[in-house]
Structures are given as C-alpha cells and as structure tokens.
Symmetry: C2
Subunit: 329 residues, 2 copies
C-alpha cells in the first residue's frame, strides 16, 4: 500500500530555551539532572529569571525526530499544539521549513506556546524543565485519521501520557493506524516518565506498539529490573522491534528471533546531548520506512545522534542525507 | 569622577533569526550579501517563509556589544525599545542575565519586537534583513540623562540614524554625555548605513565623537576614498580615538599623534561573522574604560571578535574575562 508519508509524529510542540549552567546551579535550584521535569507558569518565570543568557530553538521530542527524518529526505507530517503567538510561529516555521507537513490548528486565547528551559552542564548533559502551555490542549480532535492512514508509521512520545487529552489523542492515533494497516512507534521518552506511566506503557508495548525506542535506563525501569538481559528478554516478542540505545556503548535492536548490535558513531566533541534520542529515532525510522535492514537502520540512527550532540540545539544542523552518504551508510 | 557604569549602549533592540543559506539563495532573493538591509513587515513575512530552519538569539549591534562588555566583567546599561511580547521578553532576559541594566519601557499595543533575518553562507559571511518593528518608537524620552551621566562612555550605533526619533535620542544622549564630562563612542555600523548618512556622520565624528569604530570599508566610504592612508589621515584628529578593523589583517588604532597596529587573533574555524564588529567594540571599550593602553584595548577587541566568529550567534558563548586571562591579555 503506497503512503504519502513515511512517518507522522505526534508530540508536545515546544520551543527550547537553552543556556549553559554549572552543576552548582542544578543543585541550588533542585533540578533533576538529565531528566525532563514538568513545571507550571510560576516556576517557569522563576527559573527563567535565574537562567543565564540563552538561545532559542524549536524542539519537542517528536518534532525533533520529524525534523531529522525530513533531513534524511523522508516525507513526514507532524501533529502538535502551539499557541497563536511568536513562539508558535517559530515552531511552525521551523518544522515546515525542513519539509514536514504541519497543519494542527494553533490554540487561540489560551495558554502560550510551550517552552522547555534546558540547562546544559559542562559534561554536555541536558536538564529540561518544561512548561507545557498550549500543549495541554492537544486532544483527539487534532488527530486526522486520514493523515495517520497515509503514513507508514505513526510515531508518538511517551510524554503525551502526562496529560489526559494528549493520551486520548495517542490512543486514537494508534487505533487509526492499526485499523488502516499501518504501524505504531513509541519512544519511552524519559525514565521518570516511564515511572509515572509504567503499567500503561507495558500494556501498550505488549501488542499495541510495533517499534519501540528507549534508552537502557528507560527499558530497565519499564520492566523494573537491573539486568539488561532480563529487560531484553521481556521486550523481545512484546513488540516487533525494540531499539535500546546505550549512549557510547551503541544500541541493541531486538526482534522476536534475534538481537542486532550496532556500535555508536565516533564523535569529535561532546557539546550538548539534547535531542540525541530523538535523532536516533529519526535515523532508525527513516531507514525502516525505506525498507533497509535493521543494522543499516541502526547505523543511520547512530549517525544522526552523533551529529546532534556535537552542537547546541536538538535538531540537525547539516543535511543528514548527505552526512549518511559521506559515511557510506 | 566615579561612574556607576563603564558603558551605556543605545541601539536597536533586535532578536536575530539565524539560518544557513547558500549563495544561490542570496542571489535569488535579491539580498545584499554582507550588509544590513531594512525591510518592512510584508517583506519580513515573505523572507521568513523562504528561510530554512532557524535558531533565535538576542542581537542588535549595541546590545551585542553590551553583552560582550558584561562578559568581560564591565558594568553596563542598555537603552533600546522592545515590544511587550515574547521576543521582547527574550531580549530583556538575555541582556539582564549577563549583568547589564536594561530598564527601557517596552512598547505596548504597537509594532512587535524587531527581528533580523540573518542568512549565514558557507563562507561564514552574514547577510542581515531587519524588520525594525518597535525600535522605530525609540526616542529622546527613552534617554535618561542620569544614566548617561553615570557612564564613562555612551556607545551608540550608526543604525540609529535610520529613523528620525532614534536620531533625536542619539543627539540627546551625546549632548548629555558631554555636558556631564563623559565620552561618546559611535560605530559606523555598515557601509550602506554610512552612505545613507555620510554628511551627518562626518559632522558627528568631527568634534562630537570621542571613540569611533568602523571597518575599513566603512571608513573608506565615510571619506569617499579608495586609500586607507587618506582615510586614516582624515579621521586622525577628527576624533580622539578611531579603531579601524580589517578582519584577518587586524586593526589600526588611530589617535592625534600615532597609529597602533594590532594583529587579529588566530581562530580555529570560521563559522559565522555575525557580531564580530560588535564584540571588537566590546573588548576595546572594556579595556578603554579600565584605563588600559590602546594596544591592550585592541587585543581585547581582537580576542572577543575571534570568539564570536567561531560559533553561530552574535554574542559570546564563553566568559570573555576568562578567555582573555587564559591568553595573557
């Protein structure tokens, strides 16, 4: 069955506000290093007041992934909720400018566009504090079943489970995809997000998700084990493909009958890990929807992740299609 | 006479929207490569629609310079007009976060905060297209004579001459500075800006400006000559100090009785020249207001300029005080 889109991504549409910070700042402000914490408007104002000079870049986990897929030359659509404001215009511009379809109606007269205050420490780790703003209004009415049906894969963030209406949107999209013979992909997003929604995520992975993304910590949390072997055994067969990323140790791609190990790409300098997981998913899903073998899908994921951690900001700064070609992938 | 501030900067308060572009894009869209062109709201919308994915960063020539001075540890204030909107909040946050006083009242109910669409070509050259928005409302009422009197130097952009009320603000500030025994500094901003205001700028430099900044092209345009020697002779004595920047050829610092030549700093990689002149002025003025000799002022300018052209964005990404210390300057 032909498809207009390789992937449709659904997620929280967020503009990132990125600054450098030292570890003392993380401690003093009770931030959860390496994680994503949801904050309200008051906390956002307080935290921004303490933040150093920043730069802004469109972000959001699934949005970053879609930008990466488009950078590989994939055809994508994105569903997410911005407000009718300047940050929303920036988000809309950036995702469309890379070639991704984005037609979700903006929220008018409500909360502003979501922003994530991201502190990058000298070890290149990122600590995210997200004010969801307009994202909380994302709901099932924003999911166009025709778009889902026109996409080989529908890719969704675990973060959507943090708000009830976004969760409804998730469920509607998954059902619409399977009803139309398409596949569903989920990223576990964050180990704290897995803790918040462990039972729901286990239920999803078992039978409702075809392609699962998670890092080692998230997969271990999902199955409440300290053993990667146990987690691999648990996820094997639960979904069609699980890609488990392990930073500089590379990734394991697990299917019903085998495990493919893919090395990490060498990097020149580690600057900012924001978006690394998102870009891994971009490379993998681009390869997957082109019908490449799993090792090649994993290599493309590794190349995209390596590119994004070499600079500030969560989206690629070079054309990933050309980068992959130059590396024989 | 003691001073609360080393420098007060007055300029167009702008948020930069920065994307990569190739030379074909510059030609197809009739952009003036390497220059700053003023555009209206319609042209801004059209150009943004054609622009690739971008990142946002606070900019504005004098704003960049003040951020640089603060990064050296200098005490600064900034006067400029943003709107009461999201981009204005970003500008305000960033200049305050670096330690600069910024108390100009935002514009309400009028034009939005200014933005400059900056296209960076593979040769690291930047081509700027600026929609001035709220900046056109900057006027003499925004100039607080007490702040000017509390500043060793008042530094202003030539760009202010592009709008009549901003020009009035410039003149008021210059008069207030001199009336209170303080010095006035001007950057010529852009060779096209010099062409637009040549007679006015010559009149200013002759007797009203103490410290002049300009690159070679701007100084040549100011005196309508092709000979750098002729331009140096013309500017010598017209103002107390003129710093003429010549990119990789370094800079000439010209006073009534001598010319100090300062080499450019070596750079690792040339990425984006946006803000190079602004940061040169930052280093120079920081040194000048600390009472350093002219060669050291020039070296600090060269170090700051070299830092900013090694990355995307117009403001320093490291603490310039530490960078200068590490280089023995």
């Amino acid at each position: 069955m032909t498809a207009a889109y390789d992937v449709t991504g659904i997620g929280n549409a967020i503009v990132d506000i990125i600054a450098q910070a030292d570890d003392a700042f993380i401690v003093e402000n009770d931030l959860v290093k390496g994680s994503m914490t949801l904050i309200d408007a008051d906390r956002a104002e307080t935290l921004y007041g303490k933040m150093g000079p920043a730069i802004e870049a469109s972000g959001g986990s699934a949005g970053n992934t879609m930008a990466g897929i488009a950078s590989f030359g994939g055809r994508g659509a994105y569903i997410g909720k911005v407000a009718d404001d300047q940050l929303g215009a920036i988000f809309r511009h950036d995702i469309r400018a890379i070639g991704c379809t984005f037609d979700s109606a903006p929220l008018t007269g409500g909360a502003p566009t979501a922003r994530s205050f991201i502190f990058v420490t000298p070890d290149a780790q990122r600590t995210m504090n997200t004010f969801l703003g307009a994202c909380v209004e994302l709901g099932p009415e924003d999911v166009d079943a025709a778009v889902i049906g026109a996409s080989k894969v529908t890719y969704m963030e675990g973060y959507l489970y943090d708000k009830p209406r976004a969760k409804e949107a998730f469920v509607k999209a998954a059902q619409a995809a399977h009803a139309q013979g398409r596949e569903v992909s989920l990223t576990l997003s964050d180990s704290f997000c897995v803790e918040r929604h462990r039972d729901a995520f286990r239920g999803l992975v078992q039978g409702h998700v075809d392609i699962l993304f998670g890092n080692e910590e998230e997969i271990l949390s999902l199955y409440q084990t300290r053993s990667l072997d146990e987690a691999v055994a648990a996820v094997r067969g639960a979904c069609k493909v699980a890609a488990i990323t392990r930073s500089e140790k590379g990734a394991l791609i697990v299917t019903a009958d085998r495990t493919v190990e893919v090395a990490a790409e060498p990097i020149l300098r580690l600057v900012d890990t924001t978006g690394a997981g998102d870009q891994y998913a971009a490379g993998f899903l681009y390869g997957y929807t082109q019908g490449y073998d799993l090792a090649r899908c994993g290599r493309l994921g590794a190349i995209a992740a390596a590119e994004v951690i070499e600079h500030i900001g969560p989206r690629p700064q070079v054309k990933l299609a050309e980068l992959a070609r130059s590396r024989g992938a």
